[in-house]
Amino acid sequence: MPRPRVAALALAVGVVLADSSIVVLALPDIYRELDTSVSGVTWVLVSFNLVMALAAVPAALLARRVGPGRAAAVGLAIFAGAGLACGLSDELSTLILARCVQALGGAAAVTAALELLPATVGSERRAATVWAAAGATGAALGPALGGILTELVSWQSIFLLQVPVALIAAVPILAVAKHEAATGVIEPELRRTGRPHIWANLALAMVSAAIAAALFLLVLLLIEGWRLSPIAAAIVVSVMPLSALVGAKLAEYVADARSRAAAGAILVSGGLAALAFLPKATIALTIPPQILVGIGLSLVLSALTETALGGRAPQAIHGGWTISARHAGVVIGLLALTPIFTADIDQQRHDAINAGTAVILDSPVNPLLKLDLAEKVSERLEEEKGKVPTIGPAFEPLPDNSAERAEVEQLKGELQDQLDRGATHAFSTSFILAALLGLIALFPIALSKEVEL
Protein backbone atom coordinates (compact mmCIF):
# COMPACT_ATOMS: atom_id res chain seq x y z
CA MET A 1 0.00 0.00 0.00
CA PRO A 2 1.69 3.26 -1.09
CA ARG A 3 1.60 5.29 2.12
CA PRO A 4 2.47 8.67 0.49
CA ARG A 5 -0.55 8.29 -1.76
CA VAL A 6 -2.91 7.55 1.17
CA ALA A 7 -1.49 10.53 3.03
CA ALA A 8 -1.84 12.71 -0.07
CA LEU A 9 -5.46 11.66 -0.63
CA ALA A 10 -6.32 12.20 3.04
CA LEU A 11 -4.60 15.59 2.92
CA ALA A 12 -6.54 16.52 -0.22
CA VAL A 13 -9.88 15.58 1.38
CA GLY A 14 -8.94 17.30 4.64
CA VAL A 15 -7.81 20.58 3.07
CA VAL A 16 -10.88 20.82 0.80
CA LEU A 17 -13.43 20.02 3.51
CA ALA A 18 -11.63 22.29 5.99
CA ASP A 19 -12.28 25.05 3.48
CA SER A 20 -16.00 24.82 4.15
CA SER A 21 -15.41 26.12 7.68
CA ILE A 22 -11.87 27.56 7.75
CA VAL A 23 -13.00 31.11 6.98
CA VAL A 24 -15.58 31.22 9.78
CA LEU A 25 -13.22 32.98 12.20
CA ALA A 26 -11.91 35.25 9.44
CA LEU A 27 -15.39 36.51 8.51
CA PRO A 28 -15.38 39.43 10.99
CA ASP A 29 -12.03 40.63 9.56
CA ILE A 30 -13.21 40.19 5.96
CA TYR A 31 -16.44 41.98 6.92
CA ARG A 32 -14.55 45.01 8.17
CA GLU A 33 -11.72 45.05 5.61
CA LEU A 34 -13.94 44.69 2.55
CA ASP A 35 -16.52 47.04 4.10
CA THR A 36 -19.52 44.80 3.47
CA SER A 37 -22.60 43.67 5.40
CA VAL A 38 -23.11 40.61 7.62
CA SER A 39 -25.37 39.11 4.92
CA GLY A 40 -22.75 39.88 2.26
CA VAL A 41 -19.86 38.30 4.11
CA THR A 42 -21.93 35.17 4.78
CA TRP A 43 -21.67 34.48 1.03
CA VAL A 44 -17.93 33.87 1.37
CA LEU A 45 -19.03 30.76 3.24
CA VAL A 46 -22.30 30.09 1.41
CA SER A 47 -20.85 30.29 -2.14
CA PHE A 48 -18.24 27.60 -1.45
CA ASN A 49 -20.75 25.25 0.17
CA LEU A 50 -23.41 25.87 -2.47
CA VAL A 51 -21.07 25.04 -5.36
CA MET A 52 -19.76 21.98 -3.48
CA ALA A 53 -23.37 20.82 -2.98
CA LEU A 54 -24.21 21.28 -6.66
CA ALA A 55 -20.94 20.00 -8.13
CA ALA A 56 -20.16 16.95 -5.94
CA VAL A 57 -22.21 14.35 -7.84
CA PRO A 58 -21.39 15.64 -11.37
CA ALA A 59 -17.72 15.78 -10.30
CA ALA A 60 -17.89 12.15 -9.16
CA LEU A 61 -19.41 11.14 -12.51
CA LEU A 62 -16.69 13.08 -14.33
CA ALA A 63 -13.99 11.45 -12.21
CA ARG A 64 -15.25 8.04 -13.35
CA ARG A 65 -15.23 9.14 -16.99
CA VAL A 66 -11.81 10.78 -17.20
CA GLY A 67 -10.16 8.73 -14.49
CA PRO A 68 -10.03 9.57 -10.77
CA GLY A 69 -6.28 10.26 -10.79
CA ARG A 70 -6.59 12.91 -13.45
CA ALA A 71 -9.77 14.35 -11.87
CA ALA A 72 -8.10 14.59 -8.46
CA ALA A 73 -4.90 16.17 -9.82
CA VAL A 74 -6.73 18.70 -11.98
CA GLY A 75 -9.21 19.37 -9.17
CA LEU A 76 -6.39 20.13 -6.72
CA ALA A 77 -4.67 22.39 -9.27
CA ILE A 78 -7.92 24.35 -9.76
CA PHE A 79 -8.41 24.48 -5.99
CA ALA A 80 -4.88 25.86 -5.51
CA GLY A 81 -5.21 28.42 -8.32
CA ALA A 82 -8.55 29.66 -7.02
CA GLY A 83 -7.09 29.78 -3.50
CA LEU A 84 -4.39 32.13 -4.79
CA ALA A 85 -7.10 34.30 -6.37
CA CYS A 86 -9.00 34.34 -3.04
CA GLY A 87 -5.87 35.48 -1.21
CA LEU A 88 -5.29 38.30 -3.67
CA SER A 89 -8.94 39.49 -3.73
CA ASP A 90 -9.59 43.02 -2.56
CA GLU A 91 -13.31 43.01 -3.35
CA LEU A 92 -16.10 40.83 -2.02
CA SER A 93 -17.38 39.94 -5.51
CA THR A 94 -14.00 38.61 -6.71
CA LEU A 95 -13.51 36.73 -3.45
CA ILE A 96 -16.92 35.04 -3.80
CA LEU A 97 -16.22 34.18 -7.46
CA ALA A 98 -12.85 32.67 -6.57
CA ARG A 99 -14.52 30.69 -3.77
CA CYS A 100 -16.96 29.20 -6.32
CA VAL A 101 -14.08 28.08 -8.56
CA GLN A 102 -12.28 26.71 -5.51
CA ALA A 103 -15.36 24.61 -4.67
CA LEU A 104 -15.48 23.21 -8.23
CA GLY A 105 -11.88 22.04 -7.96
CA GLY A 106 -12.48 20.81 -4.43
CA ALA A 107 -15.54 18.76 -5.41
CA ALA A 108 -13.54 16.99 -8.12
CA ALA A 109 -10.63 16.28 -5.75
CA VAL A 110 -12.76 14.96 -2.86
CA THR A 111 -15.00 12.65 -4.86
CA ALA A 112 -12.10 11.36 -6.97
CA ALA A 113 -10.18 10.65 -3.76
CA LEU A 114 -12.93 8.26 -2.63
CA GLU A 115 -12.62 6.46 -5.98
CA LEU A 116 -8.83 6.19 -5.62
CA LEU A 117 -8.72 5.15 -1.97
CA PRO A 118 -10.05 1.53 -2.21
CA ALA A 119 -7.20 0.53 -4.51
CA THR A 120 -4.73 2.30 -2.21
CA VAL A 121 -5.96 1.05 1.19
CA GLY A 122 -7.26 -2.36 0.17
CA SER A 123 -11.02 -2.25 0.72
CA GLU A 124 -14.01 -0.02 0.11
CA ARG A 125 -14.95 -0.03 3.80
CA ARG A 126 -11.45 1.01 4.87
CA ALA A 127 -11.45 3.63 2.12
CA ALA A 128 -14.76 5.05 3.35
CA THR A 129 -13.41 5.21 6.91
CA VAL A 130 -10.20 7.03 5.87
CA TRP A 131 -12.18 9.38 3.63
CA ALA A 132 -14.79 10.21 6.29
CA ALA A 133 -12.12 10.63 9.00
CA ALA A 134 -10.01 12.95 6.82
CA GLY A 135 -13.06 15.04 6.00
CA ALA A 136 -14.24 15.22 9.62
CA THR A 137 -10.73 16.15 10.82
CA GLY A 138 -10.44 18.90 8.21
CA ALA A 139 -13.88 20.30 8.96
CA ALA A 140 -13.27 20.18 12.71
CA LEU A 141 -9.79 21.74 12.63
CA GLY A 142 -10.70 24.35 10.00
CA PRO A 143 -12.09 27.08 12.26
CA ALA A 144 -9.20 26.91 14.74
CA LEU A 145 -6.56 27.02 11.97
CA GLY A 146 -8.39 29.88 10.29
CA GLY A 147 -8.57 31.85 13.52
CA ILE A 148 -4.86 31.41 14.27
CA LEU A 149 -3.83 32.43 10.73
CA THR A 150 -6.18 35.42 10.73
CA GLU A 151 -4.72 36.80 13.94
CA LEU A 152 -1.06 35.93 13.40
CA VAL A 153 -0.91 36.87 9.71
CA SER A 154 -4.13 37.91 7.90
CA TRP A 155 -7.33 36.43 6.51
CA GLN A 156 -5.66 36.31 3.09
CA SER A 157 -3.01 33.92 4.47
CA ILE A 158 -5.70 31.24 4.98
CA PHE A 159 -6.14 30.97 1.23
CA LEU A 160 -2.50 31.52 0.28
CA LEU A 161 -1.38 28.70 2.58
CA GLN A 162 -3.81 26.32 0.86
CA VAL A 163 -1.89 26.71 -2.41
CA PRO A 164 1.28 24.81 -1.39
CA VAL A 165 -0.73 22.31 0.68
CA ALA A 166 -2.98 21.44 -2.29
CA LEU A 167 0.02 21.18 -4.62
CA ILE A 168 1.89 18.91 -2.17
CA ALA A 169 -1.20 16.67 -2.01
CA ALA A 170 -1.34 16.59 -5.83
CA VAL A 171 2.25 15.36 -6.33
CA PRO A 172 1.76 11.63 -5.42
CA ILE A 173 -1.58 11.60 -7.31
CA LEU A 174 0.15 12.76 -10.51
CA ALA A 175 1.66 9.27 -10.89
CA VAL A 176 -1.85 7.79 -11.02
CA ALA A 177 -2.94 10.47 -13.47
CA LYS A 178 0.05 9.69 -15.73
CA HIS A 179 -0.74 5.98 -15.55
CA GLU A 180 -4.36 6.66 -16.54
CA ALA A 181 -3.22 8.83 -19.44
CA ALA A 182 -0.87 6.10 -20.62
CA THR A 183 -3.25 3.15 -20.25
CA GLY A 184 -6.55 4.92 -20.84
CA VAL A 185 -8.13 3.30 -17.76
CA ILE A 186 -11.65 4.58 -17.62
CA GLU A 187 -14.47 3.13 -15.49
CA PRO A 188 -17.32 2.27 -17.88
CA GLU A 189 -19.92 0.99 -15.36
CA LEU A 190 -21.87 4.19 -14.99
CA ARG A 191 -25.28 2.59 -15.49
CA ARG A 192 -24.89 0.39 -12.43
CA THR A 193 -24.96 3.38 -10.07
CA GLY A 194 -27.53 2.64 -7.35
CA ARG A 195 -30.01 5.11 -5.90
CA PRO A 196 -28.66 7.32 -3.15
CA HIS A 197 -29.80 6.61 0.41
CA ILE A 198 -32.49 9.31 0.63
CA TRP A 199 -33.11 9.25 4.40
CA ALA A 200 -29.46 9.16 5.44
CA ASN A 201 -28.59 12.00 3.06
CA LEU A 202 -31.63 14.04 4.17
CA ALA A 203 -30.61 13.59 7.81
CA LEU A 204 -27.03 14.54 6.91
CA ALA A 205 -28.30 17.77 5.34
CA MET A 206 -30.35 18.69 8.43
CA VAL A 207 -27.65 17.86 10.94
CA SER A 208 -25.05 19.72 8.85
CA ALA A 209 -27.31 22.77 8.83
CA ALA A 210 -27.49 22.64 12.63
CA ILE A 211 -23.72 22.10 13.02
CA ALA A 212 -22.83 24.91 10.58
CA ALA A 213 -25.15 27.22 12.44
CA ALA A 214 -23.59 26.19 15.76
CA LEU A 215 -20.11 26.99 14.55
CA PHE A 216 -20.99 30.19 12.70
CA LEU A 217 -23.19 31.62 15.46
CA LEU A 218 -20.80 30.73 18.26
CA VAL A 219 -17.88 32.37 16.44
CA LEU A 220 -19.92 35.52 15.80
CA LEU A 221 -21.03 35.58 19.43
CA LEU A 222 -17.44 35.23 20.68
CA ILE A 223 -15.85 37.77 18.33
CA GLU A 224 -18.63 40.28 17.61
CA GLY A 225 -20.61 39.90 20.81
CA TRP A 226 -17.98 39.26 23.47
CA ARG A 227 -15.06 40.99 21.70
CA LEU A 228 -12.65 38.01 21.71
CA SER A 229 -9.69 38.05 19.32
CA PRO A 230 -9.78 35.46 16.48
CA ILE A 231 -7.02 33.44 18.16
CA ALA A 232 -8.84 33.42 21.51
CA ALA A 233 -12.07 32.43 19.74
CA ALA A 234 -10.13 29.68 17.91
CA ILE A 235 -8.96 28.29 21.25
CA VAL A 236 -12.52 28.41 22.64
CA VAL A 237 -14.13 26.64 19.66
CA SER A 238 -11.36 23.99 19.67
CA VAL A 239 -13.45 22.31 22.37
CA MET A 240 -15.71 20.99 19.60
CA PRO A 241 -13.05 19.09 17.55
CA LEU A 242 -11.45 17.81 20.78
CA SER A 243 -14.82 16.51 21.95
CA ALA A 244 -15.33 14.97 18.51
CA LEU A 245 -12.35 12.71 19.28
CA VAL A 246 -14.23 11.45 22.35
CA GLY A 247 -17.27 10.90 20.15
CA ALA A 248 -15.20 8.87 17.66
CA LYS A 249 -13.95 6.65 20.51
CA LEU A 250 -17.49 6.25 21.84
CA ALA A 251 -18.69 5.21 18.38
CA GLU A 252 -16.36 2.19 18.46
CA TYR A 253 -18.44 0.64 21.25
CA VAL A 254 -21.79 0.91 19.47
CA ALA A 255 -22.30 -1.03 16.27
CA ASP A 256 -25.82 0.19 15.48
CA ALA A 257 -25.42 3.19 13.16
CA ARG A 258 -29.01 4.35 13.67
CA SER A 259 -28.54 4.62 17.46
CA ARG A 260 -25.28 6.51 16.99
CA ALA A 261 -26.93 8.87 14.53
CA ALA A 262 -29.92 9.48 16.83
CA ALA A 263 -27.74 10.02 19.92
CA GLY A 264 -25.51 12.37 17.93
CA ALA A 265 -28.43 14.44 16.63
CA ILE A 266 -29.87 14.70 20.17
CA LEU A 267 -26.51 15.82 21.59
CA VAL A 268 -26.04 18.44 18.85
CA SER A 269 -29.55 19.78 19.53
CA GLY A 270 -29.03 19.72 23.31
CA GLY A 271 -25.78 21.66 22.99
CA LEU A 272 -27.39 24.23 20.69
CA ALA A 273 -30.37 24.65 23.03
CA ALA A 274 -28.00 25.19 25.96
CA LEU A 275 -26.16 27.87 23.94
CA ALA A 276 -29.54 29.57 23.45
CA PHE A 277 -30.02 29.78 27.23
CA LEU A 278 -26.59 30.89 28.44
CA PRO A 279 -27.25 32.38 31.90
CA LYS A 280 -24.22 34.72 31.67
CA ALA A 281 -21.90 36.10 29.02
CA THR A 282 -19.02 33.87 30.18
CA ILE A 283 -16.72 31.72 28.03
CA ALA A 284 -16.71 28.88 30.58
CA LEU A 285 -20.46 28.42 30.11
CA THR A 286 -19.98 27.74 26.38
CA ILE A 287 -17.74 24.74 27.14
CA PRO A 288 -20.39 22.13 28.24
CA PRO A 289 -22.65 22.88 25.23
CA GLN A 290 -19.64 22.65 22.91
CA ILE A 291 -18.72 19.26 24.38
CA LEU A 292 -22.24 17.98 23.59
CA VAL A 293 -22.11 19.39 20.03
CA GLY A 294 -18.59 17.99 19.45
CA ILE A 295 -19.41 14.47 20.62
CA GLY A 296 -22.74 14.62 18.81
CA LEU A 297 -21.35 15.74 15.46
CA SER A 298 -18.74 12.99 15.48
CA LEU A 299 -21.37 10.32 16.22
CA VAL A 300 -24.00 11.51 13.79
CA LEU A 301 -21.80 12.43 10.80
CA SER A 302 -19.86 9.16 10.78
CA ALA A 303 -22.99 7.05 11.33
CA LEU A 304 -24.96 8.75 8.57
CA THR A 305 -22.03 8.67 6.12
CA GLU A 306 -21.59 4.94 6.80
CA THR A 307 -25.31 4.40 6.26
CA ALA A 308 -25.34 6.42 3.03
CA LEU A 309 -22.32 4.56 1.62
CA GLY A 310 -23.02 1.12 3.11
CA GLY A 311 -23.34 -1.56 0.41
CA ARG A 312 -23.69 1.00 -2.35
CA ALA A 313 -21.53 1.22 -5.44
CA PRO A 314 -19.78 3.08 -6.90
CA GLN A 315 -18.48 4.69 -3.73
CA ALA A 316 -17.43 7.95 -5.42
CA ILE A 317 -20.98 8.67 -6.61
CA HIS A 318 -22.50 7.93 -3.21
CA GLY A 319 -19.70 9.82 -1.53
CA GLY A 320 -20.64 12.67 -3.86
CA TRP A 321 -24.21 12.47 -2.61
CA THR A 322 -23.07 12.71 1.02
CA ILE A 323 -20.84 15.69 0.19
CA SER A 324 -23.74 17.26 -1.66
CA ALA A 325 -26.14 16.67 1.25
CA ARG A 326 -23.72 17.99 3.88
CA HIS A 327 -22.88 21.16 1.98
CA ALA A 328 -26.50 21.76 0.99
CA GLY A 329 -27.32 21.54 4.70
CA VAL A 330 -24.64 24.11 5.51
CA VAL A 331 -26.08 26.45 2.87
CA ILE A 332 -29.65 26.00 4.15
CA GLY A 333 -28.53 26.58 7.74
CA LEU A 334 -26.64 29.76 6.90
CA LEU A 335 -29.26 31.19 4.54
CA ALA A 336 -32.16 30.42 6.87
CA LEU A 337 -30.53 31.75 10.01
CA THR A 338 -28.54 34.75 8.73
CA PRO A 339 -31.57 37.05 8.24
CA ILE A 340 -32.93 36.01 11.64
CA PHE A 341 -29.80 36.74 13.64
CA THR A 342 -28.89 39.90 11.69
CA ALA A 343 -32.38 41.26 12.50
CA ASP A 344 -31.91 40.19 16.13
CA ILE A 345 -28.49 41.87 16.29
CA ASP A 346 -29.98 45.10 14.87
CA GLN A 347 -32.78 44.98 17.44
CA GLN A 348 -30.26 44.25 20.18
CA ARG A 349 -28.16 47.25 19.09
CA HIS A 350 -31.23 49.48 19.22
CA ASP A 351 -32.17 48.11 22.65
CA ALA A 352 -28.57 48.48 23.85
CA ILE A 353 -28.42 52.15 22.86
CA ASN A 354 -31.68 52.87 24.71
CA ALA A 355 -30.75 50.70 27.69
CA GLY A 356 -27.33 52.37 27.88
CA THR A 357 -28.84 55.86 27.84
CA ALA A 358 -31.51 54.87 30.39
CA VAL A 359 -28.90 53.40 32.79
CA ILE A 360 -26.80 56.58 32.50
CA LEU A 361 -29.74 58.95 32.96
CA ASP A 362 -31.03 57.06 36.01
CA SER A 363 -27.59 56.92 37.63
CA PRO A 364 -26.64 59.28 40.47
CA VAL A 365 -23.82 60.69 38.32
CA ASN A 366 -23.53 64.49 38.02
CA PRO A 367 -26.03 65.74 35.39
CA LEU A 368 -23.22 67.60 33.65
CA LEU A 369 -21.52 64.26 32.98
CA LYS A 370 -24.68 62.40 31.99
CA LEU A 371 -25.37 63.75 28.54
CA ASP A 372 -21.71 63.61 27.68
CA LEU A 373 -21.57 59.92 28.68
CA ALA A 374 -24.87 59.08 26.99
CA GLU A 375 -23.63 60.62 23.76
CA LYS A 376 -20.19 58.92 23.91
CA VAL A 377 -21.69 55.49 24.66
CA SER A 378 -24.31 55.70 21.91
CA GLU A 379 -21.63 56.95 19.50
CA ARG A 380 -19.46 53.91 20.26
CA LEU A 381 -22.44 51.59 19.76
CA GLU A 382 -23.27 53.27 16.43
CA GLU A 383 -19.65 53.19 15.23
CA GLU A 384 -19.23 49.47 15.80
CA LYS A 385 -21.93 48.47 13.29
CA GLY A 386 -23.59 45.97 15.58
CA LYS A 387 -20.44 44.79 17.34
CA VAL A 388 -20.83 45.23 21.07
CA PRO A 389 -17.95 47.50 22.07
CA THR A 390 -15.83 47.75 25.17
CA ILE A 391 -17.41 50.90 26.50
CA GLY A 392 -14.53 51.73 28.85
CA PRO A 393 -13.07 54.47 26.59
CA ALA A 394 -16.42 56.32 26.65
CA PHE A 395 -15.90 56.81 30.39
CA GLU A 396 -12.40 58.30 30.06
CA PRO A 397 -11.14 60.43 31.67
CA LEU A 398 -12.64 59.38 35.01
CA PRO A 399 -13.70 62.22 37.34
CA ASP A 400 -11.11 63.45 39.88
CA ASN A 401 -13.58 63.36 42.75
CA SER A 402 -13.29 59.92 44.38
CA ALA A 403 -17.01 59.53 45.17
CA GLU A 404 -17.96 60.54 41.66
CA ARG A 405 -15.28 58.24 40.21
CA ALA A 406 -16.74 55.29 42.14
CA GLU A 407 -20.23 56.11 40.82
CA VAL A 408 -18.93 56.26 37.24
CA GLU A 409 -17.00 52.97 37.65
CA GLN A 410 -20.15 51.25 38.94
CA LEU A 411 -22.17 52.68 36.09
CA LYS A 412 -19.57 51.40 33.59
CA GLY A 413 -19.81 47.87 35.02
CA GLU A 414 -23.63 47.88 34.97
CA LEU A 415 -23.72 49.14 31.42
CA GLN A 416 -21.16 46.64 30.09
CA ASP A 417 -23.11 43.81 31.75
CA GLN A 418 -26.32 45.04 30.08
CA LEU A 419 -24.61 45.15 26.69
CA ASP A 420 -22.97 41.72 27.04
CA ARG A 421 -26.23 40.07 28.11
CA GLY A 422 -28.02 41.82 25.27
CA ALA A 423 -25.45 40.56 22.74
CA THR A 424 -25.76 37.01 24.08
CA HIS A 425 -29.54 37.15 23.95
CA ALA A 426 -29.44 38.35 20.32
CA PHE A 427 -28.26 34.86 19.25
CA SER A 428 -30.84 32.88 21.27
CA THR A 429 -33.55 32.56 18.61
CA SER A 430 -31.05 31.38 16.01
CA PHE A 431 -29.56 28.79 18.37
CA ILE A 432 -33.06 27.48 19.17
CA LEU A 433 -33.92 27.19 15.48
CA ALA A 434 -30.63 25.39 14.81
CA ALA A 435 -31.44 23.00 17.69
CA LEU A 436 -34.82 22.31 16.10
CA LEU A 437 -33.12 21.46 12.79
CA GLY A 438 -31.05 18.87 14.64
CA LEU A 439 -34.15 17.39 16.25
CA ILE A 440 -36.06 17.26 12.94
CA ALA A 441 -33.18 15.13 11.60
CA LEU A 442 -34.38 12.39 13.98
CA PHE A 443 -37.29 11.66 11.61
CA PRO A 444 -35.17 10.66 8.59
CA ILE A 445 -32.79 8.90 10.99
CA ALA A 446 -35.72 6.83 12.30
CA LEU A 447 -36.71 5.99 8.73
CA SER A 448 -33.18 4.99 7.64
CA LYS A 449 -33.66 1.35 8.64
CA GLU A 450 -31.55 -0.27 5.97
CA VAL A 451 -28.07 -0.16 7.38
CA GLU A 452 -25.69 -2.27 5.39
CA LEU A 453 -22.13 -2.14 6.58
Binding site: V254, D256, S259, F277, L292, N354, P367, D372
Partner: protein, 170 residues
Protein backbone atom coordinates in the same frame (compact mmCIF):
# COMPACT_ATOMS: atom_id res chain seq x y z
CA UNK B 1 -28.60 -2.61 23.97
CA UNK B 2 -25.54 -0.33 23.86
CA UNK B 3 -27.28 1.75 21.22
CA UNK B 4 -30.28 2.29 23.48
CA UNK B 5 -28.03 3.28 26.39
CA UNK B 6 -26.24 5.77 24.13
CA UNK B 7 -29.51 7.38 23.03
CA UNK B 8 -30.86 7.57 26.60
CA UNK B 9 -27.53 9.00 27.76
CA UNK B 10 -27.70 11.67 25.06
CA UNK B 11 -31.25 12.65 26.07
CA UNK B 12 -30.36 12.81 29.78
CA UNK B 13 -27.15 14.83 29.21
CA UNK B 14 -28.99 17.30 26.98
CA UNK B 15 -31.93 17.75 29.34
CA UNK B 16 -29.64 18.15 32.36
CA UNK B 17 -27.55 20.85 30.70
CA UNK B 18 -30.48 22.81 29.29
CA UNK B 19 -32.34 22.48 32.61
CA UNK B 20 -29.32 23.70 34.58
CA UNK B 21 -28.92 26.74 32.31
CA UNK B 22 -32.61 27.58 32.54
CA UNK B 23 -32.52 27.21 36.33
CA UNK B 24 -29.53 29.57 36.44
CA UNK B 25 -31.57 32.27 34.69
CA UNK B 26 -30.79 31.48 31.06
CA UNK B 27 -34.19 32.63 29.83
CA UNK B 28 -34.62 35.60 32.17
CA UNK B 29 -32.94 38.28 30.08
CA UNK B 30 -35.15 41.22 29.20
CA UNK B 31 -33.65 44.35 27.66
CA UNK B 32 -33.93 47.49 29.82
CA UNK B 33 -37.34 48.90 28.96
CA UNK B 34 -37.64 52.52 27.93
CA UNK B 35 -40.27 54.12 30.19
CA UNK B 36 -43.10 56.28 28.99
CA UNK B 37 -41.89 59.87 29.67
CA UNK B 38 -45.50 61.05 30.19
CA UNK B 39 -45.89 58.82 33.24
CA UNK B 40 -44.88 60.50 36.50
CA UNK B 41 -41.42 59.45 37.67
CA UNK B 42 -41.33 59.65 41.48
CA UNK B 43 -38.46 61.61 42.99
CA UNK B 44 -36.21 59.50 45.18
CA UNK B 45 -36.05 61.77 48.22
CA UNK B 46 -33.09 63.96 47.21
CA UNK B 47 -31.02 65.24 50.13
CA UNK B 48 -28.47 67.55 48.58
CA UNK B 49 -28.55 70.30 46.03
CA UNK B 50 -26.66 68.06 43.59
CA UNK B 51 -29.32 65.33 43.94
CA UNK B 52 -32.09 67.88 43.41
CA UNK B 53 -30.37 69.12 40.26
CA UNK B 54 -30.07 65.51 39.08
CA UNK B 55 -33.78 64.80 39.55
CA UNK B 56 -34.61 68.15 38.07
CA UNK B 57 -32.75 67.25 34.87
CA UNK B 58 -34.54 63.91 34.59
CA UNK B 59 -37.94 65.53 35.11
CA UNK B 60 -37.15 68.24 32.57
CA UNK B 61 -36.11 65.64 30.00
CA UNK B 62 -39.22 63.56 30.74
CA UNK B 63 -41.47 66.59 30.37
CA UNK B 64 -39.90 67.70 27.10
CA UNK B 65 -39.85 64.16 25.67
CA UNK B 66 -43.53 63.70 26.61
CA UNK B 67 -44.42 66.94 24.85
CA UNK B 68 -42.55 65.83 21.71
CA UNK B 69 -43.84 62.24 21.77
CA UNK B 70 -40.34 60.73 21.85
CA UNK B 71 -38.42 58.75 24.47
CA UNK B 72 -36.42 60.53 27.14
CA UNK B 73 -33.34 58.60 25.98
CA UNK B 74 -33.66 59.78 22.36
CA UNK B 75 -34.02 63.40 23.50
CA UNK B 76 -31.02 63.16 25.84
CA UNK B 77 -28.83 61.92 22.99
CA UNK B 78 -30.18 64.67 20.73
CA UNK B 79 -29.25 67.36 23.22
CA UNK B 80 -25.67 66.14 23.61
CA UNK B 81 -24.27 67.51 20.33
CA UNK B 82 -25.39 69.67 17.38
CA UNK B 83 -25.03 66.59 15.11
CA UNK B 84 -27.25 64.60 17.45
CA UNK B 85 -29.85 67.37 17.38
CA UNK B 86 -29.74 67.48 13.58
CA UNK B 87 -30.21 63.70 13.30
CA UNK B 88 -33.05 63.92 15.82
CA UNK B 89 -34.74 66.76 13.89
CA UNK B 90 -34.52 64.77 10.63
CA UNK B 91 -35.71 61.53 12.17
CA UNK B 92 -38.71 62.94 14.05
CA UNK B 93 -39.45 66.03 11.91
CA UNK B 94 -39.10 68.37 14.90
CA UNK B 95 -37.85 71.92 14.28
CA UNK B 96 -35.94 74.08 16.77
CA UNK B 97 -39.00 76.12 17.75
CA UNK B 98 -40.97 73.03 18.65
CA UNK B 99 -37.95 71.68 20.52
CA UNK B 100 -37.47 74.91 22.50
CA UNK B 101 -41.16 74.98 23.48
CA UNK B 102 -40.92 71.38 24.58
CA UNK B 103 -37.80 72.06 26.67
CA UNK B 104 -39.60 74.97 28.35
CA UNK B 105 -42.55 72.69 29.12
CA UNK B 106 -40.12 70.11 30.47
CA UNK B 107 -38.48 72.64 32.80
CA UNK B 108 -41.91 73.66 34.07
CA UNK B 109 -42.77 70.03 34.77
CA UNK B 110 -39.48 69.66 36.64
CA UNK B 111 -40.41 72.59 38.87
CA UNK B 112 -43.84 71.00 39.49
CA UNK B 113 -42.23 67.64 40.33
CA UNK B 114 -39.70 69.26 42.64
CA UNK B 115 -42.43 71.14 44.43
CA UNK B 116 -44.62 68.05 44.72
CA UNK B 117 -41.71 66.03 46.11
CA UNK B 118 -41.13 68.68 48.76
CA UNK B 119 -37.70 69.42 47.33
CA UNK B 120 -38.58 72.97 46.38
CA UNK B 121 -40.56 75.48 48.38
CA UNK B 122 -43.64 77.03 46.71
CA UNK B 123 -42.06 80.40 47.52
CA UNK B 124 -39.27 79.61 45.05
CA UNK B 125 -41.37 77.61 42.60
CA UNK B 126 -43.62 80.54 41.67
CA UNK B 127 -40.85 82.91 40.47
CA UNK B 128 -39.01 79.99 38.82
CA UNK B 129 -42.09 79.17 36.74
CA UNK B 130 -42.49 82.80 35.76
CA UNK B 131 -38.84 83.00 34.65
CA UNK B 132 -39.06 79.81 32.62
CA UNK B 133 -42.28 80.85 30.91
CA UNK B 134 -40.68 84.12 29.83
CA UNK B 135 -37.43 82.69 28.43
CA UNK B 136 -37.30 83.99 24.84
CA UNK B 137 -37.38 81.37 22.12
CA UNK B 138 -33.89 82.34 20.82
CA UNK B 139 -32.41 81.89 24.27
CA UNK B 140 -34.09 78.54 24.63
CA UNK B 141 -32.57 77.44 21.28
CA UNK B 142 -29.15 78.63 22.41
CA UNK B 143 -29.49 76.58 25.55
CA UNK B 144 -30.59 73.56 23.54
CA UNK B 145 -27.67 73.93 21.13
CA UNK B 146 -25.26 73.60 24.00
CA UNK B 147 -26.52 70.73 26.12
CA UNK B 148 -23.77 71.14 28.71
CA UNK B 149 -24.64 74.75 29.25
CA UNK B 150 -28.31 73.81 29.40
CA UNK B 151 -27.59 71.44 32.27
CA UNK B 152 -25.06 73.86 33.72
CA UNK B 153 -27.79 76.42 33.71
CA UNK B 154 -30.19 74.02 35.39
CA UNK B 155 -27.70 73.66 38.22
CA UNK B 156 -26.58 77.27 37.90
CA UNK B 157 -30.17 78.29 37.82
CA UNK B 158 -30.57 76.89 41.27
CA UNK B 159 -27.05 77.89 42.28
CA UNK B 160 -27.60 81.62 42.92
CA UNK B 161 -30.60 80.77 45.03
CA UNK B 162 -28.68 78.04 46.84
CA UNK B 163 -28.71 79.71 50.25
CA UNK B 164 -32.43 80.33 50.00
CA UNK B 165 -33.21 76.84 48.65
CA UNK B 166 -31.22 75.13 51.38
CA UNK B 167 -33.46 76.72 53.98
CA UNK B 168 -36.40 74.95 52.38
CA UNK B 169 -34.74 71.57 51.82
CA UNK B 170 -36.43 68.68 53.64
Amino acid sequence: MRGRVLVIGAVVASLLLVGAYLAAGGSSYEPEQVQNPCKPRPWSNPQTLGQIANQFTISALDGAACKLGVSREALARALATPEGRKRFAEKYGIDDEKLAKAIRAGLLRAVDDAEEAGALSPILAVPLRATLRDIPLEEAIELIQNAKSLLGNVEGFLGPAESIIEQFLP
